[in-house]
Symmetry: C2
């Protein structure tokens, strides 16, 4: 297995919790369950970067692991869904890439990108939305259901005096006229763009002019246009030795520039992608679809989320687990009171973890209509952002990890060390899958 | 005069202080002085953007004003120096541009860019410095005295795995080898670069690896490499209706990303350009040289700084004025104690206004060897960032302008409303020059 030394980051608190090899960390985990009939009703959620691949380099063992996950006919033994915070591309493209990489067929229905839950945000689909990101963002937006999409490039061309950081792209000679463009109603941040200065300037212009950037900047007192952001990952692992900047870094820039100019906080209408609950709700829907395709009639009882990033994969899976537990508790209480047991609006803290809406069920996942899994376990691998071989670890983890000091989560997510504690820590994805099948007493070979 | 409505920004406190037309605001200003012999010993410091030009469009009256400033032989009547926070170009280029614009000869000796004082930072000249900016940054650095200059592009090519935000610029096919590059000793931020994501990633990599970005990120506890930043302007006025992002915005991004990743504050070795005192010390040297060229034998007694940006031009001129007053006070006290009157190290607060060094006399301006001006007056024009026609002004300025709310100065500069109060407010540069000549009882026509 590829071993990495990484900068100690914010996760040294994990160090004291485990030894080398697969380790059961979370004691609240159910240690024995017996599924007496039918296929073992569990599903697997795989992160991609740092788990299956680094940059364009496959992680050793990933391919072998997927060989075991499919039967002789290439059919998956259990429902498998890939949950990545990557965006800036299409599900189809990602699925093709994974099929090639893993030498196992991956269908687009098994792939969930950070922006996938936007499909459920139908209230924005008819609005004129400004999209920020790279790659086929316009196509991605249309595929998600957005009908009126304005790109940053379209905005630049319509208002040629706005983007002047790059001397070489400033208007030459005669000042070109401003083209009339319809008012922007909302801003969607898909993923890290290129030329951050252009996107930062134009997004701030749009927010301060209430969607018409040829108007004067208005007072920032009134609420600004809705901003929906996908993928909060601050850092991710590519081929380089050290973590690379992700979309979370772009958001840090945008939040701070907006605050510096206006004195007010930028507010998100929704934060989508791991670790938000809306993402796991959507992933669970995909798992359910996969289970149906496999002909399973028993609902999936447990999810296992395998990832390398404590702040995205582990925090997210644990937050969703907390959410599931609250839903079940509410259900039991409702039943005790003589209700139907259908859950309409659980008032759990997991779903409303942040000040932004859209993290829980704001986009209307219909969890009342089917049986949700009992829980979601989190499995941390050491082939990506997180590594066991951290250097200079303090004897007392609380000395280095405080909310003020190093918290690599998004501004709007509360620092909660218990949510960063994985159910299990293993070396790599192969060990992770073996562990799950062992836990579920299901033959892998 | 071109009139603009601009967003109220942080300067509404000025509103109540003046009426339309040239207005004497600062009551501490000496109201009458008599220069009995020789030419009136004063000098003019002109800001460029928002005072003489917006983008590539000259501001009405600028040319007329300069016609009056030179005699029949094209010789300036008083010492004139252009003090701009622009960088990313050469003095020679700026001088040529101004000559053409103003139809008056401007020599490179009269032009001061934000990075010009780096010439005095000789302790860094032999180090290997990473430079960030756009345009001829390498040439600019060499001209300033730096011998070993590494550009961001050189760094990108040497370490091809580091800059991966732009999908299209990621290494294709085989992963290229990392080239050995000498260790970086210091980072110099000349001005706003293009592709902020690339510069932000590589600068953070250099800081966290102590100058060798192919090493692992190290603990951020130890002090990082020296960072010298030129031009803190958050916003500036080009042709667009609203202010545009300046280098100060890039610094806000860098500071916040560094803090988010490490938990620690980014520290500057020096912050150069207006409003730092080191910039005005340097400008005063240039004024002195111009006075000598004019054959003046009497030292310049007063400087007038004309600008459009309360946080750069007005704050800077007032901070320098405060510095001059402290120097003179120290001198008087030393004389009273029987000393020589030469000032070695005045312990004024103006020079040490911020936590960063290099703002005062760290680069060794030899102010002991000559007579400094008695004071520096600040004149605010309304053709750029600042406009009198602000909308939605509150009746009580203290309600909207607080340090927490809207302060457009740099993080390391204390919010001091008294330093943002101009000595005079006028409509445009023409009125500014007329006012000065009137004040100094010197014929302009």
């Amino acid at each position: 297995m590829q071993r990495l030394k990484i900068w100690k980051g914010g996760w040294s608190l994990l160090k004291s919790s485990f030894e080398r090899g697969s380790t059961h960390v979370n004691r609240s985990e159910p240690s024995s369950r017996a599924y007496s009939q039918g296929p073992s009703p569990f599903g697997l959620l795989f992160d991609i970067d740092g788990v299956l691949v680094r940059g364009r380099t496959p992680i050793p063992g990933a391919k072998q692991c997927f060989k075991k996950l499919v039967d002789r006919n290439g059919k998956y033994k259990v429902p498998v869904v890939f949950v990545t915070n990557a965006g800036n591309c299409m599900r189809q493209t990602k699925a093709e890439h994974l099929s090639q990489l893993l030498e196992a067929e991956v269908s687009p229905d098994q792939v969930m990108l950070s922006h996938s839950p936007l499909r459920m945000f139908t209230q924005f689909h008819k609005m004129s939305v400004l999209v920020s990101g790279q790659g086929p963002v316009e196509e991605v937006a249309h595929n998600l259901g957005f009908e009126d999409v304005v790109t940053i490039d379209t905005l630049r061309e319509a208002y040629p005096l706005l983007d002047v950081v790059d001397h070489d792209r400033r208007p030459k000679d005669k000042i070109p006229p401003t083209k009339g463009l319809r008012k922007i109603d909302a801003v969607i941040l898909f993923g890290e763009p290129v030329r951050w200065e252009t996107n930062l300037q134009l997004i701030v212009d749009v927010l301060l002019t209430n969607g018409s950037p040829d108007n004067n900047w208005a007072s920032a007192r009134s609420p600004h246009l809705p901003v929906l952001a996908c993928n909060m990952d601050l850092l991710w692992m590519a081929e380089a030795k050290n973590p690379r900047f992700g979309h979370g870094m772009f958001l840090v820039c945008l939040e701070n520039l907006y605050k510096k100019v206006t004195g007010y906080d930028l507010k998100y209408e929704a934060l989508i992608g791991k670790p938000s609950v809306v993402t796991y709700n959507y992933a669970e829907q995909l798992i359910r679809q996969q289970a149906e395709k496999l002909g399973w009639t028993t609902p999936v009882k447990r999810l296992y989320a395998i990832g390398d990033n404590p702040m995205a994969d582990i925090y997210g899976a644990n937050l969703y687990n907390r959410y599931l537990q609250t839903v079940h508790l509410d259900k039991v209480q409702l039943k005790a009171k003589g209700g139907s047991g259908a859950v309409d609006a659980p008032t759990d803290s997991a779903a409303s973890q942040t000040s932004s809406s859209g993290l829980g069920r704001s986009a209307g996942g219909g969890e009342a209509e089917h049986e949700l899994p009992e829980g979601c376990s989190s499995i941390l691998v050491c082939t990506g952002v997180y590594s066991k071989d951290q250097e200079e670890l303090p004897s007392d983890p609380s000395e280095t990890v405080t909310e003020q000091r190093i918290f690599h989560g998004h501004r709007d997510f509360r620092f909660d060390p218990s949510l960063m504690q994985p159910s299990f820590v293993v070396n790599d994805v192969q060990e992770a899958v073996e562990l799950v099948f062992q836990q579920e007493r299901w033959p892998l070979e």
